[in-house]
């Protein structure tokens, strides 16, 4: 059962943020959200998450900057899984994210919600 797993959704588009939130809450996950890079970092450092869904194009601080910062100052929960959830899909960006410690890379526009869910489940299983 996935109940209780805490996931942080970092997404600036309100509709998409609420969409993923609804999708994941319905599955029994415990969800928190952040609409920009700074809010995200604050939550990452102050609260414990099992998984972070991280967009790249974000206001204030982008996803790549966030990856850089948590390399220097790790998340409160040391083994948080970071999965990029973005619409940028160029090979170079994907490689950079993996190099910076992301464990997964999901392209929003290429996956349907079922696929997003099963990917997330997979990453959480791998982590536990």
């Amino acid at each position: 059962m996935e109940q209780g797993k805490r996931i942080l959704i970092v997404e600036d588009d309100q509709f998409l943020r609420e969409f993923y939130q609804e999708l994941l809450v319905a599955e029994g996950y415990n969800i928190d959200v952040a609409p920009d890079g700074e809010a995200a970092l604050q939550k990452i450092w102050e609260q414990e998450f099992d998984l972070i869904l991280l967009d790249i194009m974000l206001p204030k601080k982008d996803g790549i900057e966030i990856l850089h910062e948590i390399k220097i100052k790790p998340p409160k929960r040391a083994n948080t899984t970071i999965v990029m959830l973005t619409n940028l899909g160029q090979d170079a960006v994907i490689k950079e994210c993996f190099n910076l410690g992301a464990e997964g890379y999901l392209i929003k526009s290429a996956l349907n919600p079922d696929q997003v869910l099963s990917e997330i489940k997979g990453y959480l299983q791998k982590a536990s």
Partner: protein, 448 residues
């Protein structure tokens, strides 16, 4: 008769005009030399000034040099050269030399050697029989001491001064034109970058709301808490497919613009094509499973190819994705290889909806409208750009792409070739790579 000494001095000065390399400062170099040369011939002028005028007799440029060898350009631009209607002015206007003793109004009284100047030889500078300016030589001599010989030599010197001025003028206008072209070029570059940035940002901004539409429609279709009527389901399904098409279209258009602008890099390396095909098959397995399609990779022994694996990945996704779209449920798609030692041909064969002979010719065109075959573009989710992109990429890698079909409903085979990584190819590896000038742009992922 001019003395041999003077002729030699003249020739020396002439050579100098032709030899000075910094043409934009020709007069700066040349005028002090003239003064020096005249001095060595016994004509000790205190200063020399050259004034150039335009067609309306307005001063265009003024040069001044004295024994300190410093040339200065004085700024009396735009004024009329002749103001008094005096005798020397009339003479000069008609192309004659004039010697004047009353120099007070021609020289700034603050000039340190003002008191020593007792005469001035004013020579017309002519260009194509028109007055182009004057050369003024100031000396401490009594005006009556200036003889015909001196005037004659001075006149010859004016030709050289004119020549120097023309050369300098041409050079500076050339420099100006070069400068203008350069500025224009930089501006164009900047505009191009702006356009490109705009396209990139706009496409990303477009994708966000499109993803939201797609996600919510998907939910309405798959997670509705009320049963959908058949009609509503059809409407939602068509909305979903159209949104997907729109997303693909944005990606493909970005890719086309990058390829056409020559911003896509080809970085070839030697790799195992069969392994890459197997990866791609794994990637599209979910899509194929939805339609209960079998994907068969015929495992031949083929030599490694020399190509950009990311781009080949893109091509394979496009071709295999197409086959999945256009093959009827329950059927097979076969991927086969062939090599003649120089090239490896990879073919993707399906027994799907096929292509009519008329459409075969148009297949690889941009936004090819296929009237007689294939499932219509709107229901396939296709963009009409995928094959064009594949063709462009294959050709960038020195390969070819083609299609065969017996006709509508008779299936189709798409084949592309890539060079084998032979020793010969590896020796000329640089001919197979393409490095864009300026910024390298990555390709957007292919949707299947």
């Amino acid at each position: 008769m001019l003395s041999e000494e003077k002729i030699l001095a003249f020739l020396k000065l002439q050579q100098m005009v032709l030899d000075i390399e910094e043409s934009n400062k020709l007069l700066d170099h040349f005028l002090p030399k003239v003064l020096q040369e005249l001095d060595s011939l016994g004509y000790g002028y205190i200063y020399l000034s050259a004034i150039f005028i335009d067609k309306d007799l307005k001063v265009k440029q003024t040069f001044f040099t004295d024994q300190n060898n410093i040339v200065s350009e004085t700024v009396t631009k735009g004024e009329n050269l002749f103001q008094k209607g005096s005798e020397w002015e009339m003479k000069v206007m008609y192309g004659e030399a004039a010697v004047i003793s009353d120099v007070a109004h021609l020289i700034n009284p603050n000039y340190p050697q003002f008191a020593q100047i007792h005469s001035m030889l004013i020579l017309p500078i002519q260009h194509k029989r028109e007055l182009a300016g004057i050369l003024a030589l100031a000396s401490s001599k009594n005006p009556s001491k200036i003889d015909a010989d001196e005037i004659e030599f001075g006149k010859m010197i004016t030709r050289l001064v004119d020549l120097a001025f023309r050369l300098q003028d041409t050079e500076s206008s050339l420099t100006q034109i070069t400068q203008q072209v350069y500025t224009m070029n930089a501006k164009l570059h900047q505009l191009d970058k702006l356009k490109d940035d705009f396209v990139s940002v706009a496409s990303h901004e477009l994708r966000t709301p499109m993803t939201a539409i797609r996600s919510y429609v998907w939910m309405a279709l798959h997670r509705s808490d009320v049963p959908l009527t058949q009609k509503l389901e059809r409407y939602l399904y068509r909305t979903l497919v159209s949104t997907e098409r729109l997303i693909n279209l944005v990606n493909d258009m970005l890719n086309v613009s990058r390829i056409e602008a020559g911003k896509v890099e080809i970085a070839p390396r030697s790799f195992d094509l069969v392994a890459l095909v197997k990866d791609v098959v794994e990637e599209v397995k979910a899509k194929a499973d939805e339609k209960r399609l079998q994907l068969l990779v015929l495992d031949h022994k083929i030599p490694p190819v020399f190509a950009d694996s990311d781009k080949v990945h893109q091509i394979l996704l496009n071709l295999i994705g197409n086959s999945i779209k256009f093959t009827y449920p329950g059927e097979n798609i076969t991927i086969d290889f062939f090599t003649d030692g120089q090239f490896v041909e990879t073919s993707v064969t399906d027994n799907g909806s096929g292509i009519s002979p008329e459409d075969l010719a148009k297949l690889f065109h941009k936004f090819a409208r296929l009237d007689n075959s294939y499932v219509s573009i709107s229901t396939s989710g296709g963009t009409g750009l995928g094959l064009y992109i594949s063709k462009s990429l294959v050709e960038l890698m020195k390969g070819k792409i083609w299609a065969k079909s017996e006709g509508v409903d008779k299936g189709a085979t798409f084949t592309f070739s890539l060079p084998v990584a032979t020793e010969e190819v590896l020796k000329h590896a640089d001919q197979f790579q393409f490095k864009p000038q300026g910024e390298v742009k990555p390709l957007e992922p292919v949707a299947i």
